[in-house]
Symmetry: C3
Subunit: 259 residues, 3 copies
């Protein structure tokens, strides 16, 4: 799938948060996609229609941006462009949770990428999931399936172990490196990488494409740590290096996926 | 204090300028804090209330953002959350100077972090301070004390030598490296680091916490230059590395503080 | 010219897109300019008047930002400050093409920096230019001259070979490295570097200053690849390093310019 991605070089329309724009764009360029950022309501429909995938990341939300995201999402739906939602901080403020619900109700979202706490907030299970970052794998699967079924989408719930499910099929991926949590934007960039893979397959392959995206990402992180373990800044750059270097063959060999 | 910061892992709500968001977030992650960026008036009160500290940096100001900052600042005051103001470009345009004055009047600001020229502009002494970047140390102390007394806050006035004062106690710190001035966002990130330290102490320790923050920062910069003096880009990354590596013991050993 | 730039240390007022702000600022600092970002209509006139050059980059456009750019542009015109336009994505959406036309009609733009496709869109020749990124050098020269003549400006049309022309004089520059296309913001930063050089010369030298800027940029990229060819992330940082290291003498020796 990675070879195919590089050949297709999909245009990924990113409406993402202002903390991670540069890192997202560099990661997408490295792996072989073409990122474009566009936020204005006057042009997002054109861009989403032209794109291979649309990423909606609410990390620095506003009312105006939400409206533009919904316009873009509807245009993407009409064009058959997959829509990937990253519900950054859902549960942290009601403003964010509400925005996600509005998007999920008005737009046909193909894939949601979040951590366990965020996904739990989306399905009203905040109280259940405590150890947000990966400890409670049982709960993680539960909220992932609930989200997938509630919105007929693929849920990508990341943590120490990543869960990818469409409500029936389930993949768990154990690649990656803990230093990713010390570099801002790595979670958000993963949303972009999932979008890039989704752009290159048909809807019935979104779950496999998402699992492959998560594996590729994790393998690149492992290679990055081998190359550069001097500190978090260098590691963050080395990870971009490796996103450009990692091959389909390496992913197939090094991925730790269970289904 | 650095060990304690890492243990507390404070949430720092950053309302900062769009040039430095990523670098600020990465620096805060490296040193052991949890950055969160939120700008919308609909959620800043919730976020500032939940946070351990609130950073207001006016580097790319707008009317709308100012209103949100004041909302956040008032919520922080109510919650007992320290508010750190970074008056980027005060004096460069009257728009910026006016915004800072509005914030200082409507919000109880705990700590102001700026260079001598910016702080001079805030206390109406633009004419006095000429050699903005550190040469006139006498003037720097003068404007720092004037600001601290005028707004009952800690003034952190940075330059070749950094002055930290609450109007009575005075610390001067001589750590750091001149290459910091060639990497955008290093001044702004320092505001964030001061906020992270402030989040872990009581108000009567803000001045000591600020001095320790400034020393830690300077020591990390010196270590970064030892590690990577190839160019400004590499140095900027190495500095993030070192913010994650520098220890309390190294700071205590290498800091050059006078009080 | 590079020695002179470093001596003048020009203030470059950047109104640029949110994907590339940090990289633009770091590149400008490295080469010896002083970047300042300001976007609010309340202050852009003051800032553009104080600056040595004004960069208008429409990479993440909005209606509000366009209004502020035009205010800034008119203030720059009044003050004799050169205005550099980077029409990112012109042709990709009509929103962007229209914004560029409005700016070009209301503001006296000194220099336009874009790729062949963008410039073709500005002069209504989208249909002619197909191989946007550098293959059709004949077409590139054609659209460059057409733009230069239509708006009495210098056109800097970048690609594998870069064309710089004021409609009469023509320079072509063959420096650079293909990896620049894998690091987001390198095209946009070039617009900033052209602005920095323009800030240090008289209007009748804008074409030579632009050619020197493009050559310096290309030579720095070649040196960066020699230093760091591990991956796109490292290369992007090494390029900032080299922008700070490259000397006038190296540019004069290594540039590949034809006129």
């Amino acid at each position: 799938m990675l070879n195919n991605l590089k050949e297709v070089n999909p245009l990924v329309h990113c409406m993402t948060n202002m903390v991670v724009t540069t890192y997202t764009a560099n990661g997408l360029l490295a792996i072989g996609a073409s990122p474009v950022m566009a936020y204005a309501k006057e042009e997002v429909e054109d861009m989403a229609t032209a794109a291979g995938a649309l990423l909606l990341n609410i990390g620095t939300p506003s009312v105006e941006l939400t409206e533009a995201m919904i316009l873009a999402g509807k245009a993407a739906n009409k064009a058959g462009t997959p829509v990937i939602l990253d519900p950054v901080g859902a549960g942290a403020t009601t403003f964010r949770t509400d925005i996600c619900h509005r998007i999920l109700e008005e737009v046909d979202v193909s894939i949601v990428r979040g951590n366990a706490g965020e996904v739990a907030a989306l399905v009203g299970m905040d109280g259940v999931v405590k150890g947000v970052d990966g400890s409670l794998d049982g709960d993680k699967l539960l909220v992932a399936k609930k989200l997938a079924n509630a919105y007929t989408c693929v849920a990508v719930v990341t943590g120490e172990v990543d869960i990818i499910t469409d409500g029936e099929k389930v993949y768990s991926v154990s690649n990656g490196h803990s230093w990713l949590t010390k570099v801002v934007g790595t979670g958000c960039l993963l949303g972009g990488v999932v979008a890039a893979f989704a752009a290159t397959v048909k809807p019935d392959q979104y779950v496999e494409a998402s699992a492959f995206a998560v594996s590729s990402y994790g393998v690149a992180a492992e290679k990055a740590f081998e190359q550069s373990n001097k500190g978090f800044g260098s590691f963050g750059q080395a990870f971009i290096d490796q996103l450009g270097i990692v091959t389909e063959e390496e992913v197939l060999k090094l991925r730790k996926v269970e289904s």
